[in-house]
Protein backbone atom coordinates (compact mmCIF):
# COMPACT_ATOMS: atom_id res chain seq x y z
CA UNK A 1 0.00 0.00 0.00
CA UNK A 2 2.87 2.35 0.89
CA UNK A 3 4.17 1.95 -2.65
CA UNK A 4 0.78 2.85 -4.10
CA UNK A 5 0.59 6.06 -2.07
CA UNK A 6 4.16 6.90 -3.00
CA UNK A 7 3.32 6.52 -6.68
CA UNK A 8 0.20 8.61 -6.20
CA UNK A 9 2.34 11.36 -4.68
CA UNK A 10 4.81 11.15 -7.57
CA UNK A 11 1.82 11.33 -9.89
CA UNK A 12 0.48 14.43 -8.15
CA UNK A 13 3.89 16.11 -8.34
CA UNK A 14 4.25 15.31 -12.03
CA UNK A 15 0.64 16.45 -12.41
CA UNK A 16 1.58 19.79 -10.83
CA UNK A 17 4.24 20.36 -13.47
CA UNK A 18 1.92 19.16 -16.23
CA UNK A 19 -0.79 21.51 -15.00
CA UNK A 20 1.46 24.57 -14.72
CA UNK A 21 3.03 23.96 -18.12
CA UNK A 22 -0.16 23.04 -19.94
CA UNK A 23 -1.90 26.03 -18.37
CA UNK A 24 0.78 28.32 -19.84
CA UNK A 25 0.46 26.57 -23.20
CA UNK A 26 -3.33 26.93 -23.09
CA UNK A 27 -3.11 30.64 -22.28
CA UNK A 28 -0.63 31.22 -25.10
CA UNK A 29 -2.55 29.13 -27.61
CA UNK A 30 -5.83 30.78 -26.69
CA UNK A 31 -4.50 34.29 -27.12
CA UNK A 32 -1.74 34.05 -29.72
CA UNK A 33 -2.93 30.97 -31.58
CA UNK A 34 0.62 29.68 -31.34
CA UNK A 35 1.60 26.17 -30.34
CA UNK A 36 4.55 27.15 -28.19
CA UNK A 37 7.08 24.40 -28.61
CA UNK A 38 9.65 26.55 -26.78
CA UNK A 39 7.72 26.02 -23.55
CA UNK A 40 9.94 23.18 -22.34
CA UNK A 41 13.07 25.25 -22.97
CA UNK A 42 11.57 28.18 -21.06
CA UNK A 43 10.72 25.83 -18.17
CA UNK A 44 14.36 24.76 -18.18
CA UNK A 45 15.45 28.42 -18.23
CA UNK A 46 13.35 29.03 -15.11
CA UNK A 47 15.30 26.32 -13.30
CA UNK A 48 18.64 27.67 -14.58
CA UNK A 49 17.78 31.24 -13.58
CA UNK A 50 17.03 29.97 -10.05
CA UNK A 51 20.39 28.14 -10.12
CA UNK A 52 22.27 31.27 -11.27
CA UNK A 53 20.48 33.47 -8.77
CA UNK A 54 21.53 31.15 -5.96
CA UNK A 55 25.07 30.43 -7.05
CA UNK A 56 26.07 33.74 -8.57
CA UNK A 57 23.92 36.20 -6.62
CA UNK A 58 23.22 34.38 -3.39
CA UNK A 59 19.48 34.83 -4.02
CA UNK A 60 17.54 32.15 -2.19
CA UNK A 61 14.75 29.86 -3.41
CA UNK A 62 11.91 32.09 -2.20
CA UNK A 63 13.12 35.11 -4.14
CA UNK A 64 13.86 32.85 -7.10
CA UNK A 65 10.19 31.80 -7.11
CA UNK A 66 9.37 35.45 -7.78
CA UNK A 67 12.35 36.61 -9.85
CA UNK A 68 12.88 33.67 -12.22
CA UNK A 69 9.35 33.85 -13.71
CA UNK A 70 9.76 37.62 -14.14
CA UNK A 71 13.19 37.32 -15.79
CA UNK A 72 12.17 34.46 -18.10
CA UNK A 73 8.82 36.17 -18.72
CA UNK A 74 10.67 39.27 -19.95
CA UNK A 75 12.80 37.04 -22.18
CA UNK A 76 9.56 35.55 -23.52
CA UNK A 77 8.09 38.99 -24.17
CA UNK A 78 11.21 39.93 -26.14
CA UNK A 79 10.78 36.73 -28.19
CA UNK A 80 7.15 37.64 -28.83
CA UNK A 81 7.91 41.24 -29.85
CA UNK A 82 10.86 40.38 -32.07
CA UNK A 83 9.71 37.11 -33.65
CA UNK A 84 6.33 35.64 -32.81
CA UNK A 85 4.27 38.76 -33.54
CA UNK A 86 5.19 38.49 -37.21
CA UNK A 87 3.38 35.15 -37.42
CA UNK A 88 -0.03 36.66 -36.65
CA UNK A 89 -2.61 35.29 -39.07
CA UNK A 90 -0.35 32.58 -40.45
CA UNK A 91 -0.92 28.84 -40.20
CA UNK A 92 -0.17 27.18 -36.83
CA UNK A 93 2.67 25.29 -38.47
CA UNK A 94 4.81 28.44 -38.73
CA UNK A 95 4.54 29.14 -35.01
CA UNK A 96 5.24 25.55 -34.17
CA UNK A 97 8.35 25.46 -36.37
CA UNK A 98 9.66 28.79 -35.10
CA UNK A 99 9.19 27.91 -31.42
CA UNK A 100 10.64 24.43 -32.03
CA UNK A 101 13.71 26.12 -33.53
CA UNK A 102 13.93 28.50 -30.57
CA UNK A 103 13.73 25.52 -28.20
CA UNK A 104 16.57 23.74 -30.01
CA UNK A 105 18.76 26.86 -29.94
CA UNK A 106 18.12 27.61 -26.25
CA UNK A 107 18.65 23.99 -25.22
CA UNK A 108 21.75 23.75 -27.44
CA UNK A 109 23.32 26.83 -25.88
CA UNK A 110 22.73 25.55 -22.33
CA UNK A 111 23.95 22.08 -23.25
CA UNK A 112 27.10 23.57 -24.74
CA UNK A 113 27.97 25.32 -21.48
CA UNK A 114 26.58 22.92 -18.88
CA UNK A 115 26.60 19.49 -20.54
CA UNK A 116 23.75 17.04 -20.11
CA UNK A 117 24.15 16.06 -16.50
CA UNK A 118 22.17 17.69 -13.75
CA UNK A 119 23.28 20.54 -11.51
CA UNK A 120 22.21 20.26 -7.88
CA UNK A 121 19.76 22.72 -6.37
CA UNK A 122 19.12 22.25 -2.68
CA UNK A 123 15.69 22.13 -1.08
CA UNK A 124 15.26 25.28 1.04
CA UNK A 125 15.76 24.68 4.76
CA UNK A 126 12.15 25.51 5.60
CA UNK A 127 10.89 22.71 3.33
CA UNK A 128 13.35 19.98 4.25
CA UNK A 129 12.30 16.79 5.98
CA UNK A 130 9.02 14.97 5.91
CA UNK A 131 5.84 14.10 7.71
CA UNK A 132 4.55 10.70 8.67
CA UNK A 133 0.89 10.69 7.70
CA UNK A 134 0.32 7.22 9.12
CA UNK A 135 -0.39 5.62 5.74
CA UNK A 136 2.67 7.15 4.05
CA UNK A 137 5.72 9.36 4.52
CA UNK A 138 5.25 12.76 2.84
CA UNK A 139 8.38 14.79 1.99
CA UNK A 140 7.48 18.38 2.88
CA UNK A 141 8.92 19.86 -0.32
CA UNK A 142 6.83 17.58 -2.52
CA UNK A 143 3.69 18.46 -0.61
CA UNK A 144 4.57 22.13 -1.04
CA UNK A 145 4.98 21.74 -4.81
CA UNK A 146 1.54 20.16 -5.15
CA UNK A 147 -0.25 22.76 -3.02
CA UNK A 148 1.61 25.79 -4.40
CA UNK A 149 1.05 24.65 -8.00
CA UNK A 150 -2.63 24.16 -7.32
CA UNK A 151 -2.90 27.65 -5.82
CA UNK A 152 -1.08 29.23 -8.78
CA UNK A 153 -3.25 27.32 -11.27
CA UNK A 154 -6.47 28.37 -9.55
CA UNK A 155 -5.27 31.98 -9.28
CA UNK A 156 -4.54 31.98 -13.02
CA UNK A 157 -7.97 30.47 -13.73
CA UNK A 158 -9.57 33.17 -11.56
CA UNK A 159 -7.61 35.91 -13.34
CA UNK A 160 -8.75 34.72 -16.76
CA UNK A 161 -12.30 33.65 -16.02
CA UNK A 162 -13.44 36.07 -13.33
CA UNK A 163 -11.73 39.44 -13.79
CA UNK A 164 -12.08 42.36 -16.20
CA UNK A 165 -8.56 41.72 -17.51
CA UNK A 166 -9.51 38.09 -18.12
CA UNK A 167 -12.61 39.23 -20.01
CA UNK A 168 -10.34 41.31 -22.28
CA UNK A 169 -8.17 38.25 -22.85
CA UNK A 170 -11.10 35.98 -23.65
CA UNK A 171 -12.69 38.55 -25.92
CA UNK A 172 -9.41 39.20 -27.72
CA UNK A 173 -9.08 35.46 -28.27
CA UNK A 174 -12.36 35.57 -30.20
CA UNK A 175 -12.09 38.86 -32.05
CA UNK A 176 -8.90 40.87 -31.46
CA UNK A 177 -9.79 43.44 -34.12
CA UNK A 178 -13.02 44.43 -32.41
CA UNK A 179 -11.46 44.43 -28.94
CA UNK A 180 -8.82 46.81 -30.25
CA UNK A 181 -11.54 48.99 -31.77
CA UNK A 182 -12.95 49.34 -28.26
CA UNK A 183 -9.75 51.11 -27.21
CA UNK A 184 -7.76 48.22 -25.78
CA UNK A 185 -4.12 47.90 -26.80
CA UNK A 186 -4.33 44.29 -27.97
CA UNK A 187 -0.72 43.89 -29.18
CA UNK A 188 0.53 44.92 -25.73
CA UNK A 189 -1.94 42.54 -24.12
CA UNK A 190 -0.71 39.70 -26.34
CA UNK A 191 2.89 40.40 -25.32
CA UNK A 192 1.96 40.39 -21.63
CA UNK A 193 -0.06 37.20 -22.06
CA UNK A 194 2.92 35.47 -23.64
CA UNK A 195 5.01 36.74 -20.73
CA UNK A 196 2.45 35.29 -18.29
CA UNK A 197 2.42 31.89 -20.00
CA UNK A 198 6.20 31.79 -20.11
CA UNK A 199 6.38 32.95 -16.49
CA UNK A 200 4.23 29.98 -15.46
CA UNK A 201 6.64 27.64 -17.24
CA UNK A 202 9.59 29.28 -15.50
CA UNK A 203 7.81 28.96 -12.15
CA UNK A 204 7.38 25.24 -12.78
CA UNK A 205 11.10 25.11 -13.57
CA UNK A 206 12.03 26.67 -10.22
CA UNK A 207 9.69 24.28 -8.36
CA UNK A 208 11.19 21.36 -10.22
CA UNK A 209 14.86 22.27 -9.64
CA UNK A 210 15.21 20.73 -6.12
CA UNK A 211 13.40 17.54 -7.21
CA UNK A 212 14.74 16.84 -10.68
CA UNK A 213 18.01 18.86 -10.62
CA UNK A 214 18.78 21.52 -13.20
CA UNK A 215 19.43 20.03 -16.66
CA UNK A 216 19.45 21.60 -20.15
CA UNK A 217 17.13 18.88 -21.48
CA UNK A 218 14.74 18.78 -18.52
CA UNK A 219 12.10 20.59 -20.56
CA UNK A 220 12.57 18.50 -23.70
CA UNK A 221 11.77 15.37 -21.67
CA UNK A 222 8.57 16.89 -20.37
CA UNK A 223 7.15 18.93 -23.23
CA UNK A 224 5.81 16.04 -25.32
CA UNK A 225 3.78 14.72 -22.39
CA UNK A 226 2.56 18.26 -21.67
CA UNK A 227 1.35 18.63 -25.25
CA UNK A 228 -0.57 15.39 -24.86
CA UNK A 229 -2.11 16.83 -21.68
CA UNK A 230 -3.18 19.98 -23.55
CA UNK A 231 -4.68 17.95 -26.39
CA UNK A 232 -6.61 15.76 -23.92
CA UNK A 233 -7.83 18.76 -21.91
CA UNK A 234 -8.74 20.79 -24.97
CA UNK A 235 -6.52 23.39 -26.65
CA UNK A 236 -7.06 26.80 -25.09
CA UNK A 237 -9.18 25.51 -22.19
CA UNK A 238 -7.87 26.89 -18.89
CA UNK A 239 -9.71 24.70 -16.40
CA UNK A 240 -9.36 21.74 -18.76
CA UNK A 241 -5.58 22.09 -18.65
CA UNK A 242 -5.47 22.26 -14.87
CA UNK A 243 -7.76 19.30 -14.23
CA UNK A 244 -6.23 17.19 -16.98
CA UNK A 245 -2.70 18.02 -15.81
CA UNK A 246 -3.29 16.78 -12.28
CA UNK A 247 -5.51 13.87 -13.38
CA UNK A 248 -3.01 12.56 -15.91
CA UNK A 249 -0.20 12.83 -13.39
CA UNK A 250 -2.23 10.65 -11.03
CA UNK A 251 -3.18 8.20 -13.79
CA UNK A 252 0.48 7.93 -14.74
CA UNK A 253 1.38 7.29 -11.09
CA UNK A 254 -1.29 4.60 -10.75
CA UNK A 255 -0.09 2.96 -13.96
CA UNK A 256 3.44 2.88 -12.53
CA UNK A 257 2.06 0.88 -9.60
CA UNK A 258 -0.32 -1.46 -11.41
CA UNK A 259 1.39 -1.93 -14.79
CA UNK A 260 4.77 -0.14 -14.88
CA UNK A 261 5.48 -1.16 -18.47
CA UNK A 262 2.68 1.15 -19.67
CA UNK A 263 3.52 4.14 -17.47
CA UNK A 264 5.39 6.00 -20.22
CA UNK A 265 2.71 5.47 -22.82
CA UNK A 266 -0.56 5.67 -20.90
CA UNK A 267 -0.89 9.44 -21.49
CA UNK A 268 -0.46 9.00 -25.24
CA UNK A 269 -2.93 6.11 -25.36
CA UNK A 270 -5.45 8.36 -23.61
CA UNK A 271 -4.65 11.15 -26.08
CA UNK A 272 -5.41 8.86 -29.02
CA UNK A 273 -8.69 7.76 -27.43
CA UNK A 274 -9.74 11.37 -26.74
CA UNK A 275 -8.82 12.44 -30.27
CA UNK A 276 -10.94 9.63 -31.67
CA UNK A 277 -13.94 10.24 -29.40
CA UNK A 278 -13.83 14.02 -28.82
CA UNK A 279 -11.26 15.74 -31.03
CA UNK A 280 -11.74 19.12 -29.33
CA UNK A 281 -10.51 17.63 -26.03
CA UNK A 282 -12.43 16.84 -22.86
CA UNK A 283 -13.28 20.46 -22.07
CA UNK A 284 -12.51 22.16 -25.38
CA UNK A 285 -15.14 23.90 -27.49
CA UNK A 286 -15.71 23.19 -31.14
CA UNK A 287 -14.28 25.89 -33.39
Amino acid sequence: MQALYAQLLVGLINGSFYALLSLGLAVIFGMLNIINFAHGALYMMGAFVAYFLLNLGGVNYWWALLLAPIIVGIFGMILERTMLQWLTGLDHLYGLLLTFGIALIVQGVFQNYFGSSGLPYAIPDQLKGGMNLGFMFLPVYRGWVVIFSLVVCLATWFLIEKTRLGAYLRAATENPTLVRAFGINVPRMITLTYGLGVGLAALAGVLSAPINQVRPLMGADLIIVVFAVVVIGGMGSIMGSIITGFALGVIEGLTKYFYPEASNTVVFVLMVVVLLVKPTGLTGRAA
Binding site: R164, A167, Y168, R170, A171, T173, E174, N175, T177, L178, V179, R180, A181, F182, G183, I184, N185, V186
Partner: protein, 248 residues
Amino acid sequence: MPETAMAEAPARAAIGGNILQVRNLEAWYGESHILHGINFDVNAGEVVTLLGRNGAGKTTTLKSIMGIIGKRAGSIKFNDQEIMRATSDKIARMGIAFCPEERGIFSSLDVRENLLLPPVVRPGGLPLEQIFDLFPNLKERLSSQGTKLSGGEQQMLAIARILRTGASFLMLDEPTEGLAPVIIQQIGHTIARLKKEGFTILLVEQNFRFASTVADRYYVVEHGKIIDGFSNAELAANMDKLHTYLGV
Protein backbone atom coordinates in the same frame (compact mmCIF):
# COMPACT_ATOMS: atom_id res chain seq x y z
CA MET B 1 -34.03 60.64 -17.55
CA PRO B 2 -31.42 61.03 -14.78
CA GLU B 3 -30.32 64.60 -14.32
CA THR B 4 -26.63 63.83 -14.65
CA ALA B 5 -27.02 62.37 -18.12
CA MET B 6 -29.10 65.30 -19.32
CA ALA B 7 -26.55 67.71 -17.94
CA GLU B 8 -23.80 66.04 -19.96
CA ALA B 9 -25.69 66.08 -23.23
CA PRO B 10 -24.71 69.62 -24.29
CA ALA B 11 -21.04 68.82 -23.66
CA ARG B 12 -21.28 65.91 -26.09
CA ALA B 13 -22.85 67.96 -28.83
CA ALA B 14 -21.48 71.36 -29.66
CA ILE B 15 -24.37 71.49 -32.13
CA GLY B 16 -23.50 72.19 -35.70
CA GLY B 17 -19.70 72.11 -35.44
CA ASN B 18 -17.94 69.88 -37.93
CA ILE B 19 -16.84 66.74 -36.07
CA LEU B 20 -15.73 64.41 -38.88
CA GLN B 21 -14.18 65.26 -42.22
CA VAL B 22 -13.44 62.51 -44.71
CA ARG B 23 -11.46 63.51 -47.80
CA ASN B 24 -10.39 61.36 -50.74
CA LEU B 25 -10.60 58.22 -48.66
CA GLU B 26 -9.33 55.16 -50.47
CA ALA B 27 -9.14 51.66 -49.02
CA TRP B 28 -8.03 48.22 -50.13
CA TYR B 29 -8.66 44.65 -49.03
CA GLY B 30 -5.46 43.00 -50.20
CA GLU B 31 -5.28 43.80 -53.91
CA SER B 32 -8.96 44.77 -54.15
CA HIS B 33 -9.46 48.52 -54.35
CA ILE B 34 -12.75 49.11 -52.47
CA LEU B 35 -12.99 52.85 -51.78
CA HIS B 36 -12.10 55.24 -54.60
CA GLY B 37 -12.06 58.66 -52.94
CA ILE B 38 -14.87 59.06 -50.43
CA ASN B 39 -15.69 62.63 -49.32
CA PHE B 40 -18.21 63.62 -46.67
CA ASP B 41 -18.67 65.52 -43.42
CA VAL B 42 -20.56 64.86 -40.23
CA ASN B 43 -21.60 67.70 -37.93
CA ALA B 44 -21.84 67.36 -34.19
CA GLY B 45 -25.19 66.19 -32.89
CA GLU B 46 -26.60 64.98 -36.19
CA VAL B 47 -27.44 61.55 -37.53
CA VAL B 48 -25.87 60.97 -40.95
CA THR B 49 -26.71 57.87 -42.94
CA LEU B 50 -24.64 56.19 -45.61
CA LEU B 51 -27.00 54.47 -48.03
CA GLY B 52 -26.06 52.12 -50.82
CA ARG B 53 -26.33 48.64 -52.22
CA ASN B 54 -24.48 45.63 -50.90
CA GLY B 55 -20.79 45.89 -51.63
CA ALA B 56 -20.91 49.63 -52.32
CA GLY B 57 -18.27 50.37 -49.67
CA LYS B 58 -20.38 51.60 -46.73
CA THR B 59 -19.00 49.18 -44.13
CA THR B 60 -15.48 49.64 -45.48
CA THR B 61 -15.90 53.39 -44.96
CA LEU B 62 -16.80 52.86 -41.29
CA LYS B 63 -13.97 50.38 -40.81
CA SER B 64 -11.53 52.78 -42.45
CA ILE B 65 -12.58 55.57 -40.09
CA MET B 66 -12.13 53.15 -37.17
CA GLY B 67 -8.64 52.22 -38.38
CA ILE B 68 -9.54 48.58 -38.89
CA ILE B 69 -8.64 48.52 -42.59
CA GLY B 70 -4.87 48.26 -42.91
CA LYS B 71 -4.37 49.77 -46.36
CA ARG B 72 -5.91 53.24 -46.58
CA ALA B 73 -5.13 56.61 -48.15
CA GLY B 74 -6.60 60.10 -47.97
CA SER B 75 -7.52 62.11 -44.93
CA ILE B 76 -9.87 61.55 -41.98
CA LYS B 77 -10.12 64.34 -39.43
CA PHE B 78 -11.98 63.89 -36.15
CA ASN B 79 -12.40 67.11 -34.18
CA ASP B 80 -9.81 68.66 -36.52
CA GLN B 81 -7.27 65.98 -35.63
CA GLU B 82 -5.91 63.78 -38.39
CA ILE B 83 -6.54 60.13 -37.46
CA MET B 84 -5.44 58.45 -40.66
CA ARG B 85 -2.27 57.03 -39.13
CA ALA B 86 -3.73 56.26 -35.71
CA THR B 87 -4.33 52.66 -34.61
CA SER B 88 -7.90 51.62 -33.86
CA ASP B 89 -7.38 51.58 -30.08
CA LYS B 90 -6.14 55.18 -30.20
CA ILE B 91 -9.05 56.19 -32.44
CA ALA B 92 -11.47 54.64 -29.92
CA ARG B 93 -9.81 56.60 -27.13
CA MET B 94 -10.41 59.83 -29.06
CA GLY B 95 -14.14 59.24 -28.66
CA ILE B 96 -15.25 57.21 -31.69
CA ALA B 97 -17.19 54.00 -31.03
CA PHE B 98 -18.06 51.33 -33.58
CA CYS B 99 -20.92 48.84 -33.55
CA PRO B 100 -20.19 46.27 -36.27
CA GLU B 101 -22.69 44.75 -38.65
CA GLU B 102 -22.14 41.24 -37.26
CA ARG B 103 -22.67 42.74 -33.75
CA GLY B 104 -19.47 41.22 -32.37
CA ILE B 105 -21.00 39.67 -29.27
CA PHE B 106 -18.39 37.51 -27.55
CA SER B 107 -19.54 33.95 -26.91
CA SER B 108 -17.07 33.36 -24.08
CA LEU B 109 -18.47 36.33 -22.15
CA ASP B 110 -21.83 36.70 -20.46
CA VAL B 111 -24.06 39.71 -21.09
CA ARG B 112 -22.64 41.66 -18.14
CA GLU B 113 -19.06 41.03 -19.30
CA ASN B 114 -19.95 41.97 -22.89
CA LEU B 115 -21.60 45.14 -21.64
CA LEU B 116 -18.68 46.16 -19.45
CA LEU B 117 -15.97 45.10 -21.91
CA PRO B 118 -15.24 48.38 -23.72
CA PRO B 119 -13.25 50.59 -21.36
CA VAL B 120 -14.49 54.07 -20.49
CA VAL B 121 -12.39 56.28 -22.74
CA ARG B 122 -13.66 59.65 -21.52
CA PRO B 123 -16.23 61.07 -19.16
CA GLY B 124 -19.84 61.49 -20.25
CA GLY B 125 -20.80 57.88 -20.97
CA LEU B 126 -24.27 56.73 -20.03
CA PRO B 127 -24.55 55.14 -16.61
CA LEU B 128 -25.75 51.54 -16.48
CA GLU B 129 -29.17 52.55 -15.07
CA GLN B 130 -29.80 54.70 -18.09
CA ILE B 131 -28.64 51.95 -20.44
CA PHE B 132 -31.08 49.54 -18.78
CA ASP B 133 -33.73 52.20 -19.14
CA LEU B 134 -33.06 52.17 -22.90
CA PHE B 135 -32.76 48.38 -23.11
CA PRO B 136 -34.72 46.79 -20.26
CA ASN B 137 -34.31 43.27 -21.71
CA LEU B 138 -30.59 43.35 -21.04
CA LYS B 139 -31.03 43.82 -17.31
CA GLU B 140 -32.93 40.54 -17.09
CA ARG B 141 -30.34 38.63 -19.11
CA LEU B 142 -27.12 39.83 -17.46
CA SER B 143 -25.83 36.39 -16.58
CA SER B 144 -26.78 34.75 -19.89
CA GLN B 145 -24.10 33.89 -22.42
CA GLY B 146 -23.91 36.79 -24.89
CA THR B 147 -24.56 34.69 -27.97
CA LYS B 148 -27.60 33.02 -26.38
CA LEU B 149 -29.58 36.27 -26.74
CA SER B 150 -32.03 36.76 -29.58
CA GLY B 151 -30.86 38.74 -32.63
CA GLY B 152 -32.65 41.86 -31.40
CA GLU B 153 -31.21 41.57 -27.90
CA GLN B 154 -27.73 41.04 -29.32
CA GLN B 155 -28.12 44.21 -31.36
CA MET B 156 -29.25 46.08 -28.26
CA LEU B 157 -26.26 44.74 -26.36
CA ALA B 158 -23.92 45.75 -29.18
CA ILE B 159 -25.24 49.32 -29.09
CA ALA B 160 -25.53 49.43 -25.29
CA ARG B 161 -21.91 48.54 -24.64
CA ILE B 162 -20.54 51.47 -26.64
CA LEU B 163 -22.79 53.97 -24.84
CA ARG B 164 -20.92 53.44 -21.57
CA THR B 165 -17.57 54.43 -22.98
CA GLY B 166 -18.03 58.17 -23.16
CA ALA B 167 -17.53 58.17 -26.93
CA SER B 168 -19.54 60.99 -28.45
CA PHE B 169 -19.39 59.77 -32.05
CA LEU B 170 -21.12 56.45 -32.72
CA MET B 171 -20.83 54.45 -35.92
CA LEU B 172 -23.62 51.90 -36.30
CA ASP B 173 -23.32 49.42 -39.13
CA GLU B 174 -26.68 48.07 -40.31
CA PRO B 175 -28.25 47.96 -36.84
CA THR B 176 -31.59 46.74 -38.19
CA GLU B 177 -30.32 43.93 -40.38
CA GLY B 178 -32.28 40.71 -39.92
CA LEU B 179 -34.45 42.09 -37.11
CA ALA B 180 -38.23 41.93 -36.66
CA PRO B 181 -40.17 45.16 -37.38
CA VAL B 182 -41.02 45.69 -33.72
CA ILE B 183 -37.32 45.51 -32.78
CA ILE B 184 -36.41 47.82 -35.66
CA GLN B 185 -38.90 50.31 -34.26
CA GLN B 186 -37.28 50.01 -30.83
CA ILE B 187 -33.82 50.59 -32.30
CA GLY B 188 -35.21 53.63 -34.11
CA HIS B 189 -36.55 55.05 -30.85
CA THR B 190 -33.19 54.41 -29.23
CA ILE B 191 -31.27 56.22 -31.96
CA ALA B 192 -33.67 59.16 -31.77
CA ARG B 193 -33.18 59.28 -28.00
CA LEU B 194 -29.40 59.11 -28.34
CA LYS B 195 -29.55 62.00 -30.78
CA LYS B 196 -31.52 64.00 -28.22
CA GLU B 197 -28.84 63.12 -25.68
CA GLY B 198 -26.32 64.80 -27.94
CA PHE B 199 -24.59 61.82 -29.56
CA THR B 200 -23.40 62.20 -33.13
CA ILE B 201 -24.25 59.12 -35.16
CA LEU B 202 -22.95 57.83 -38.47
CA LEU B 203 -25.30 55.12 -39.61
CA VAL B 204 -24.90 52.60 -42.39
CA GLU B 205 -28.24 51.35 -43.65
CA GLN B 206 -29.79 49.65 -46.64
CA ASN B 207 -33.26 50.12 -45.15
CA PHE B 208 -33.82 53.77 -46.03
CA ARG B 209 -37.38 53.66 -44.68
CA PHE B 210 -35.88 53.04 -41.28
CA ALA B 211 -33.12 55.57 -41.89
CA SER B 212 -35.65 58.25 -42.81
CA THR B 213 -37.12 58.06 -39.31
CA VAL B 214 -33.85 59.02 -37.64
CA ALA B 215 -31.45 60.64 -40.12
CA ASP B 216 -30.73 64.33 -40.66
CA ARG B 217 -28.71 63.82 -43.82
CA TYR B 218 -27.92 61.06 -46.30
CA TYR B 219 -24.99 60.18 -48.50
CA VAL B 220 -25.35 57.58 -51.22
CA VAL B 221 -22.35 55.31 -51.75
CA GLU B 222 -21.80 53.44 -54.99
CA HIS B 223 -18.68 51.66 -56.23
CA GLY B 224 -16.61 53.11 -53.41
CA LYS B 225 -17.61 56.74 -54.01
CA ILE B 226 -20.18 59.16 -52.66
CA ILE B 227 -22.43 59.82 -55.64
CA ASP B 228 -25.12 61.95 -54.00
CA GLY B 229 -26.08 63.62 -50.75
CA PHE B 230 -29.17 65.34 -49.41
CA SER B 231 -30.89 66.34 -46.20
CA ASN B 232 -33.95 64.70 -44.69
CA ALA B 233 -36.04 67.68 -45.82
CA GLU B 234 -35.02 66.88 -49.42
CA LEU B 235 -35.78 63.18 -49.09
CA ALA B 236 -39.24 63.28 -50.68
CA ALA B 237 -37.91 65.16 -53.70
CA ASN B 238 -35.14 62.60 -54.13
CA MET B 239 -37.17 59.43 -53.73
CA ASP B 240 -37.08 58.46 -57.41
CA LYS B 241 -33.33 58.89 -57.57
CA LEU B 242 -32.96 56.95 -54.35
CA HIS B 243 -34.99 54.06 -55.69
CA THR B 244 -32.70 53.95 -58.70
CA TYR B 245 -29.56 54.11 -56.56
CA LEU B 246 -30.69 51.38 -54.22
CA GLY B 247 -32.45 49.24 -56.80
CA VAL B 248 -35.65 49.03 -54.79
